[in-house]
């Protein structure tokens, strides 16, 4: 069977504002290190006013994953809402420039394009405060049957559980995907997102999700345990596959039949971990769409994650397809 796209991803369309910060800055502003906090426009302006000089770059978890899939040579589509403003134009440009299909109409006359204020501490950890802006105006009407049915895998970011309208778009995409026999992948996105929506997420995972992405904190939050092996045992019967990331300890692929570990790819110096999980998902999804083994999918994910944490910004700065070739992966 042949598809127009390997992956279609749905997410909060966000532009990142990335700046260095000391740990004391996080404490002074009551920010939970490594987490994502939702803020309103006034809070965003106040926090931005105190941040160091930064760079602006297209972000959004699923958007980053789409960029990674495209960089690996995959065909990807994106659904998400920006505003008709300068940052929205930047987001749309970057999406199309990487070769991704992106046709969601921008919001006119409403909120501005969503922004994620990313404070990166000297250890490379990123702490995020997100003003969702226009992203919350993604509606079910933006999810078209043709786009969903035209992709081998439908990838949903857990962040979409926060805006109510977007969650309906999410449900519609899942319904369309299920009806047409497409694979549904979900990223848990953030431990606090999981905490806010645990019941609904668990139900969605049990009934709809084929492939689950989560890091240790997120899968622990889902099952309210700090014991990773307990979380692995809990997810194993619920999905066809789970890919669980553990930072420098690599990742673990879980299926009903097996649990298999894959090492992290080496990195000289961790500069900024923004986008690490998103790029892991990109490598994994690309591998899956190309019929690779789960272990090879995990290795491709680790390779993409290693590239992105070695520089500022959540998207690849080199062609991941060339990087994968250089690391011994056969061409797709």
């Amino acid at each position: 069977m042949s598809f127009a796209h390997d992956v279609v991803a749905i997410g909060n369309a966000i532009v990142d504002v990335i700046a260095p910060a000391e740990d004391g800055f996080l404490q002074a502003h009551g920010l939970a290190k490594g987490a994502m906090t939702l803020i309103d426009e006034a809070q965003a302006e106040a926090l931005y006013g105190k941040m160091a000089p930064g760079i602006e770059t297209s972000g959004g978890s699923a958007g980053n994953t789409v960029a990674g899939v495209a960089s690996l040579g995959g065909r990807a589509a994106y659904i998400g809402k920006v505003a008709a403003d300068q940052l929205g134009e930047v987001f749309a440009h970057d999406m199309r420039a990487i070769g991704a299909h992106f046709e969601t109409l921008p919001l006119n006359g409403g909120a501005a394009t969503g922004r994620c204020l990313v404070n990166v501490t000297p250890d490379g950890q990123r702490t995020m405060c997100t003003f969702l802006g226009a992203a919350t105006e993604l509606t079910a009407a933006d999810v078209t049957a043709a786009t969903i049915e035209g992709a081998a895998i439908v990838y949903l970011e857990g962040y979409l559980f926060d805006p109510p309208e977007a969650r309906r778009a999410f449900a519609k995409a899942a319904g369309l995907a299920r009806a047409s026999g497409r694979m549904i992948a979900l990223s848990l996105s953030d431990a606090f997102v999981v905490d806010r929506h645990r019941g609904a997420l668990l139900e969605f995972i049990e009934t709809e999700v084929d492939l689950l992405f989560a890091n240790e904190a997120e899968i622990g939050s889902l099952f309210q345990t700090e014991d990773f092996s307990q979380a692995v045992a809990a997810i194993q019967p619920l999905v066809r596959m789970a890919a669980l990331t553990r930072s420098e300890k690599g990742s673990v692929v879980v299926t009903p039949q097996m649990v298999q570990g894959a090492p992290a790819a080496p990195v000289d110096k961790v500069i900024d971990t923004t986008g690490a999980g998103d790029q892991y998902a990109a490598g994994f999804l690309f591998g899956l769409a190309k019929g690779r083994t789960p272990l090879d999918c995990a290795r491709l994910g680790s390779l993409a994650a290693a590239e992105v944490i070695s520089h500022y910004g959540p998207r690849p700065q080199v062609a991941l397809a060339e990087l994968a070739l250089a690391k011994g992966f056969a061409p797709a």
Copy 2:
């Protein structure tokens, strides 16, 4: 004598859009490698549509220099015009976040904030296409006597010779600086800018400029020679000091009494040369304001330039004051 600021700089306020490009891309679009070409908004949109995914970051030659002076621990002020839009807010934020004084009123209801589309080839060279936008609306009224008289050095970027209104602002700043005995520094900015305004620039240099910054191509263009030593001989009687940069060959300081070379600072890998000249000027100006010898000024300039070419973006990503300390410069 004590000043509110070490340096006040006047320039085209610009946000950079930086993306990687192959040499073939430059050829296909008729772009002169390493140069700055002025384009209109329609051309900017057409070119942007063809560029790779990028990052957005505050730029503008003199703006970058101000950021460098502040990063070295100097007190700096900036005069330049952005629009009241998202990119204008980014520019203003970054200027204030680095601790620079920036009070120029943004333009309302006119052109958008100026943008420089920077295509960076694999050799690290940057080729720039600039849509000046709101920057052309800088007027003499934006140049206040208090700001000019409050700074030890007034730094002007040669790019301001292009927009006619801005050039009047430039002339006013020079007049105020001269009347109050301030040092006037000028950067030639670009060989083609020099070519467009050679006569006016030469006259301005002879009558107003104390300290001239130029690279080899620019000083060669000024005196219409490809012979560097001929250009050195030509500039020597015209100014109190000239700092001439020669990429990896370092720089040469010229005064009526002497010609002295300074080595380039070592760089592991040149990623993006955007801002190299601007940061050289920052180090040099900071050193001068702190009473360093010309050779030490040149060495500080080389240090700041080496930092900026080792990453994407035209402004320092580390505190240059700490870098200078680590490299053996005594605290200012």
